[in-house]
Amino acid sequence: MKHLSLRSAAPLALVGALVLSGCVENNASASTSIAVTSTADDCEVESATATSGPVRFEVENSGDDVTEFYVLADDGLRIVGEVENIAAGASRDLTVQLQPGSYFTVCKPGMVGEGVGQAEFSVTGDEVQVSAGDQEAIDEAVASYTAYTKSQVAELVTGTRAFTEAYRAGNDDEARRLFPLARVNYERVEPTAGNFGDLDPKIDYRKPGAEAEGLPFTGFHRIEMDLWIDEARGNYPDEDLQPLDAAGRAALADQLDADIQSLYDEVHADDFELTIDDITNGAIGLLDEVAAPDGKLPGEENEFAHTDLYDFLANVEGAQVAYESVRDIAAANGADGEELVAELDEQFAAMEALLATYGSYDVGFVSYETVDQSARNALGAQLNALSEPLSKLTFTVLGVDPGE
């Protein structure tokens, strides 16, 4: 075992009974306790600051729904720690080992959607020295990433419902606006969702893929085709494509909702497990999704809506969260590890900065049709610059003997 210093904003989560060896004996030893009250529409945190080290959040559910409490990293995406299944009127504790940096706290009554009462939370003080390269660090990373996957699928449930409701109601402008946004949560965890072999084809298959496998064409892209029917007729001039009537829309919408719910049930099932390989390989897998011949970079993912840049960013964000959850383990592996995380930090930032020149989820991204070939080449070059070091992450996380 060797000692290392974790970098700032590089926390390790302690969920439930998990303890970090050599640092925290159990929850009771937490030096700081902060009361949290979860209500139907707010998430009151007693103090917005804490000193680095173990912090215990004592979460009381004053609402009527079962709730959850999250501590998120400064990107608002990566889950540093979470406590689930807090019944109405009940209390549960979450103890997390927090390094100096900025975080967010948020509650999620009903356990789906984006949550309520998101607030900034800052941690000051010295970096906490921990032992790493050990199983506990890996367990923490897996716990953190598993929680992220669950929360993304939970948000996918509500985001998809809003989208399908607009579509069912014939509110096409709103449905077109929500289409790329609803997909973001799916794209962030695409390799995990893809592991459920029967669901991904129903939810996310493109028209050529469904037809090649003789499957009914359903899901996001089937609705996309209906919402952008003129574009679809242009892409498939030899086919007599007709807009769907209300009953046809309802059938598609109902099925997508049901399939997304099935995905939710799968990732929230007791036997749902991810491994450290799922995380590190999933990270590179997400970027492969971007670069694939039927992916975002060639503009084939959303061939009617041309909203590929939303999916592009979502894949990159998902990869970054996966990376961030193992970043400390990688950084702990000597000079090579330090070099790799420095390179990945830089390349993730450069990739997102380049994508930001085309828009954002909030203000919208430009149609991918307006991105010319040389601009696509530049996106591809940056994607390569990120993918090449990311392909070494699994080895750097797992391939070095922690005892050396």
Partner: protein, 421 residues
């Protein structure tokens, strides 16, 4: 990348430090020795796979090196936001990898199979066991590298005067997507997999610093640079390169090929032109017409003024009809040094075939490569070809010009002198 085991210059016991190639026993026979001109001898006569050329030397290999059978040429652009440090580190990493590749070694510290099973291999592996096959890797720098807005590489002031984009020529139909580029790599070897492997690995090393702009796969050398080489044929079916500058002609090399000024001293300038042939039209042309267009016989390659392939053309000779025996619009006459103030080029082109177009016509032609002391030599000859009868059967669709720095000496990286004041 770390410095590789020096693979060249003197007989080495271990071709591969991992011994994967199993060539250690023959390394001494297969390792080339650099001479003053940078020319390397290929001494693996008993096994052509083992012929190799030193990467380090006074001049870059791949210019006077006996022309190999296969080419893979890559043009790359530096990525947006790349810095001088990125450019220098790329040239350093390429130097290290090129020294390994030209010695038939795998790229990187752990090669294709000796790394961790959890990591992608350093080397992509498709050349395992093939040997160097006389691989040469020749690197060049395009004008756009020096001209980039804001001069991020700090080299604008060091751009050689000769590195000025080529002018437009009559009948040019240039496509931007297969022209120009910040950097180039010419990979030549006697095995197609070896050249593909080299470019694939070098472009992989470049990710994040440079990206491929265009590539060209060539086969069947269309010229010779060594007196011992047969004159090959191009896709018109004619011998090409009979009057080329040969590697043992030191005087001609100094006069026409090697640059002598500043950081480019010992380097050269490379013109790369993708010349598409209208294959179907040519094939419907009668033999007599074909020979009048070229100015040589198709079989022997002799000038139409008579003799054999190596007979100098007699441009004054008249045929029975009173016209020049070697017609005034023939390619041989217009391109010949005698009618161009003695100007010569070192040609090193390859045939290429790149599928077909939507009309079912073969997309094929000559990937023309010439090295010269000054691009003005090429400009003079290409301008003279304006009335060339061959123009009916060709279109120049791609064009690029690169400064090819002198060879890197041991311990130096490619183009090191460019970055030293």
């Amino acid at each position: 990348m770390t410095d590789p085991t020096p693979p060249d210059g003197q007989p080495s016991r271990g071709v591969s430090r991992r011994g994967v190639l199993g060539l250690a026993a023959v390394a001494a026979a297969g390792t080339a020795v650099g001479f003053g001109t940078g020319r390397a001898t290929s001494s693996g006569a008993d096994d052509p796979r083992r012929g190799s050329h030193a990467f380090h030397g006074d001049h870059q290999a791949g210019i006077t090196t006996p022309v190999q059978q296969h080419l893979y040429f890559a043009s790359l652009d530096m990525t947006a936001g790349a810095s001088r440090e990125d450019l220098v580190s790329l040239l350093q990493d390429w130097t290290a990898a090129a020294a390994q590749l030209t010695a038939g070694q795998e790229v990187g510290e752990s090669g294709a199979t000796d790394g961790s099973p959890l990591a992608p291999p350093d080397d992509t592996g498709e050349a395992l066991g093939l040997g160097p096959h006389n691989l040469t890797l020749t690197f060049g720098l395009g004008a756009s590298l020096f001209d980039r807005e804001g001069d991020p590489f700090g080299i604008a002031a060091r751009r050689p005067e000769a590195l000025t984009p080529l002018p437009s020529f009559a009948f040019d139909l240039l496509e931007d997507a297969i022209s120009d580029g910040d950097l180039c790599i010419q990979a030549c070897a006697d095995d197609p997999q070896v050249v593909v492997h080299a470019i694939r690995n070098l472009s992989r090393i470049a990710f994040g610093r440079a990206q491929v702009r265009w590539t060209r796969l060539g086969y069947g050398r269309t010229s010779r640079t060594d007196a011992g080489q047969q004159t090959p044929r191009n896709l018109f079916g004619f011998k090409d390169g009979t009057a080329n500058i040969l590697s043992d002609d030191a005087e001609a090399l100094d006069r026409w090929v090697w640059a002598s000024d500043g950081w480019m001293a010992g380097g050269s300038y490379l013109v790369a032109r993708t010349i598409q042939m209208t294959i179907e039209s040519w094939d419907r042309t009668r033999l007599q017409e074909q020979e009048l267009v070229i100015g040589r016989t198709k079989g022997e390659g002799a000038p139409l003024s008579g003799g054999t392939e190596m007979t100098e053309p007699d441009f004054a000779m008249r045929s029975s009809t009173g016209d020049f025996a070697v017609p005034s619009t023939s390619h041989v006459r217009l391109a010949h040094p005698d009618l161009n103030d003695g100007v010569r080029l070192l040609r090193r082109g390859y045939n290429y075939v790149d599928g077909n177009n939507d009309l079912g016509q073969i997309t094929a032609g000559l990937f023309f490569l010439s090295f010269q002391r000054d691009p003005a030599q090429f400009v003079q000859i290409q301008t003279a070809l304006k009335t060339d009868a061959l123009n009916e059967y060709i279109r120049h669709v791609g064009s690029a010009l690169y400064a090819v720095p002198p060879g890197a000496r041991r311990g130096e990286h490619i183009a090191q002198a460019l970055f030293e004041s």
